[in-house]
């Protein structure tokens, strides 16, 4: 009983403990400018994780997020010279479209989302390779600053990425808590059969959840591309695992229905702290994905709602 009571608070307790550990080991970590730049650096990942939250919230997963982000880094770079700021629209629409396709495959063809999104991710990846000619592309500095400079500048000492992430977080929080769509998402995640028996259009809700995930993955790719001033079909590689970790460690279990976007913020910060702690503890960068792999397993094992997996007679 008491464990159940603590469980919802575990994510932020974990975050505080981690910050205390790393800060205790090296007080430089706690300096404001260090913390701020750490948060700014994690924003593309956070935005992807934000989208992933919706896919996981309904009990699915979006394995295409990284490939969609890769694809949009290429789209953004290729489209920038001709379209300017409208390149962003192309990116967002492409993300939405790929997400919807995943949603349709999952709901209409009844292909589990871990397969459908993996497959759709393959398509996105190929498209990125085709568009880029399998090369790393670079943005012209003046063109980039003219159209997307606002994304990566600084105001009051705070990098603009943080504002972008913050605005998206607030928008998604509003969507999740205040709209009929958010309520429907919760019902589908927590009790899909009851949602059907209440007359909800569960198919449409699921498709929209995947579309949102695709859209946010695309925005993550766009931001990352602007930040690095270029695009390539492998630019965002290494995002997928930490994004999933961020959602799960934040407290949205794979079975869905609980947690949400604020949890993902905390989860992303945990990921950020773990990532920087590797620097402070001089852990080799090649170990990063292994560490996230281990954390992922631990997070799933701890958060999954086994009562939903039991065979119900």
């Amino acid at each position: 009983m008491s464990l159940d009571r603590i469980k919802p608070h575990l994510p932020w307790i974990t975050l505080l403990v981690l910050v205390a550990i790393v800060g205790g080991a090296d007080s430089n970590f706690l300096k404001p400018h260090n913390l701020i730049s750490m948060v700014a650096d994690i924003m593309p990942l956070f935005i992807m994780a934000l989208g992933m939250t919706f896919a996981i919230y309904i009990g699915g997963i979006d394995l295409s997020a990284q490939s969609v982000a890769n694809m949009t880094t290429v789209i953004a770079t290729v489209a920038l010279p001709t379209l300017g700021i409208s390149a962003a629209v192309v990116c967002v629409v492409a993300g939405l479209a790929f997400g919807m396709v995943s949603g349709f495959i999952t709901t209409r063809l009844l292909v589990p989302s871990f397969v459908s999104t993996l497959a759709v991710g393959g398509v996105a990846y190929s498209l990125a390779q085709y568009l880029s000619g399998q090369r790393a592309l670079y943005m012209d500095a003046t063109l980039r600053d003219g159209s997307f400079g606002w994304m990566v500048g600084k105001s009051f000492g705070i990098p603009h990425e943080i504002f972008v992430g913050g605005v998206l977080l607030l928008a998604m929080l509003f969507l999740q808590t205040r709209t009929t769509f958010g309520r429907a998402l919760k019902a589908v995640g927590a009790g899909e059969l009851a949602a059907v028996a209440s007359g909800l259009n569960v198919t449409r809700i699921k498709v929209m959840a995947f579309a949102l995930s695709g859209m946010l993955a695309a925005i993550a790719g766009l931001l990352f591309s602007v930040k690095l001033s270029g695009g390539s079909p492998t630019l965002a590689n290494g995002f997928l695992l930490p994004a999933i970790v961020a959602v799960l460690v934040g407290g949205t279990p794979l079975t869905g229905g609980v947690g949400g976007v604020v949890n993902t913020l905390i989860g992303t910060l945990i990921v950020a702290v773990i990532r920087s702690s590797m620097l402070y503890f001089e852990i080799d960068a090649t170990m990063q994905q292994m560490v996230f792999g281990i954390i992922l397993i631990a997070a799933i094992a701890m958060t999954i709602d086994r009562s939903k997996l039991r065979i119900v007679k």
């Binding site: 205040r178 709209t179 009929t180 769509f181 309520r183 429907a184 919760k186 019902a187 927590a190 009790g191 059969l193 009851a194 949602a195 059907v196 028996a197 209440s198 007359g199 909800l200 259009n201 229905g257 609980v258 119900v312």
Partner: protein
């Protein structure tokens, strides 16, 4: 001699078996009958080791035994032939027969298929089934599969010392009449090898086959009759018998319905494999009860009205309009509210609070441009919490943590507050205590007074009779008989059971 002594089994909220005594002698065929929920399945599960009793003892030839699982029960000679056939259809007959016991045919790490086929042929001979043991099971007819299953259980004979007890759970439900006769002849011959416990809804078959019959009701054995003194009428009375308390079902509150208007009209509607040629009209203020055994098609009729099943023939009218698309969303728009049997899975969303559950089916009444007016939702929830006396600390309480009766009230409030006037109730009182049941009965009368029509699949026959204006008795997907149930002139339990079985 297999013997249960004062066996007791409790589940949360249900006393499933009450001090049940049960004996079966060598070579005996014992019948077990009772209404749905009388405790037959629980008793069987205790016998073959799937459940462990909370009280009482089980003895075999005087020695006390205790089974932790069905495999241990098998080691004592107790086998089960399942109603839902337990054979794996893509394996061969012989693989199925020896599933889990292949070791005896293993030589140098590989299976000697010839030896297994030979052994399987011997088992099949016991049940007089002349098929190649290498046949893939999916190629067999249902009757043949039943016999294979029986042969599989009979392998116990070679594996254990002592007597066999074999449970047959509704073995005839998928068989044609001739196949039933063959099976019965076989079972009688096999009494030289084993004793049988025979469970069936078909009373005449139980009477025909059994040496003795146990009659169960409300978790207790109410009668044991021998083959010679058995009489269908008497057994049926025992099965259901209990004086119906008129007040309990709010019969005095039952008012005539409005026969002029039709809320739902079924005209020769069929869903293949589920029910066929079903016709009825549901009027405002009417409680129409669908009565029948499990699998008689009652649930599927509810699902059709709610748009979850699409009929292949016939017309469904709702408030005059012929329905062409069958979608839950459409049904909800037509004013249909569905209170499913699986309250915790389909009724409420556990993890969502009281007001979120209440508005789930009608969110657009509480939203502008997709943005929820949460304050109004809470007001609505508070109003209905008061009105139905829902016991919850607040409207923020997770519905998964409410008691069954209060969950049911939340589900009913969801539909009533949204103005639904065609209410489908699937076992609305299942698992509720008496007080909560009476609350549900009160609500049913109130809804009728407010002009709603109710289609009910009741938990017990008394409930069906006590509550309804009209009763349709279904058997194997067909309407057998329609009864009218004005207060003071209700059909008797026996009238219904007669057409059900």
């Amino acid at each position: 001699m297999y013997k249960l002594n004062k066996v007791d089994k409790k589940f949360p909220g249900v006393h499933a078996l009450k001090a049940v005594d049960f004996t079966i002698g060598r070579g005996e065929i014992v019948g077990l009958v009772g209404e749905n929920g009388a405790g037959k399945s629980t008793l069987m599960k205790v016998i073959y080791g799937a459940y462990q009793p909370d009280g009482g003892t089980i003895t075999i030839d005087g020695t006390a035994v205790r089974f932790a699982n069905p495999r241990q029960a098998m080691a004592h000679g107790i086998g089960m032939v399942f109603q839902e056939q337990s054979l794996i259809t893509n394996l061969t007959v012989m693989e199925n027969i020896f599933l889990g016991f292949e070791k005896q045919f293993v030589k140098f790490g590989v299976i000697d298929w010839k030896a297994m086929a030979e052994a399987a042929r011997r088992q099949l001979a016991k049940v007089k089934l002349d098929i190649d043991p290498a046949t893939v099971t999916s190629n067999l007819s249902f009757a043949q599969r039943q016999l294979v299953e029986l042969a599989k259980v009979l392998t116990l004979e070679e594996r254990i010392d002592g007597d066999l007890v074999i449970l047959l759970d509704e073995p005839t439900s998928v068989l044609a009449r001739e196949e039933v006769e063959l099976l019965f002849r076989l079972v009688r011959e096999l009494t030289s090898r084993a004793s049988f416990i025979f469970v069936s809804h078909r009373m005449d078959e139980v009477l025909e086959l059994s040496d003795r019959i146990y009659v169960m009701k409300d978790g207790a054995v109410v009668d044991v009759v021998t083959h010679d003194e058995a009489n269908i009428d008497k057994i049926q009375h025992k099965m259901v018998g209990r004086d119906v308390d008129k007040e309990y079902y709010r019969e005095q509150l039952q008012k005539p319905y409005d026969a002029e208007r039709v809320l739902v009209g079924f005209d020769k509607v069929s869903v293949p494999g589920k029910y066929s040629d079903v016709s009825f009209d549901l009027h405002p203020g009417e409680v129409l009860c669908l009565v029948g055994t499990e699998g008689s098609g009652r649930e599927c009729i509810l699902r059709t009205i709610f748009g979850l099943e699409k009929p292949s023939a016939g017309t469904v009218r709702m408030k005059g309009g012929v329905q062409t698309t069958f979608k839950a969303r459409r049904a909800v728009e037509n004013g249909v509210g569905y209170v499913p049997r699986e309250r915790k899975v389909e009724g409420i969303v556990g993890g969502m609070n009281v007001y979120e559950n209440m508005t789930l089916s009608q969110m657009k009444n509480y939203a502008s441009g997709g943005i929820l007016r949460i304050r109004e939702e809470k007001e609505l929830a508070r109003k209905w919490v008061d009105r139905l006396a829902i016991k919850t600390p607040s409207v923020f309480k997770d519905c998964g943590g409410l008691s069954g009766g209060n969950q049911q009230k939340v589900v009913l409030a969801k539909w009533r507050s949204g103005g639904s006037d065609i209410i489908l109730l699937d076992h609305p009182t299942r698992g509720l205590d008496i007080g909560a049941k009476e609350d549900v009965y009160d609500m049913i009368r109130e809804m009728c007074d407010a002009g709603a029509g109710i289609i009910l699949v009741a938990d017990t026959l008394e409930e069906a009779i006590g509550l309804s204006h009209t009763i349709l008795v279904l058997k194997d997907g067909e309407v057998q008989k329609s009864f009218r149930g004005e207060p003071g002139n209700k059909p008797s339990l026996f009238d219904l059971v007669h057409y059900m079985t």
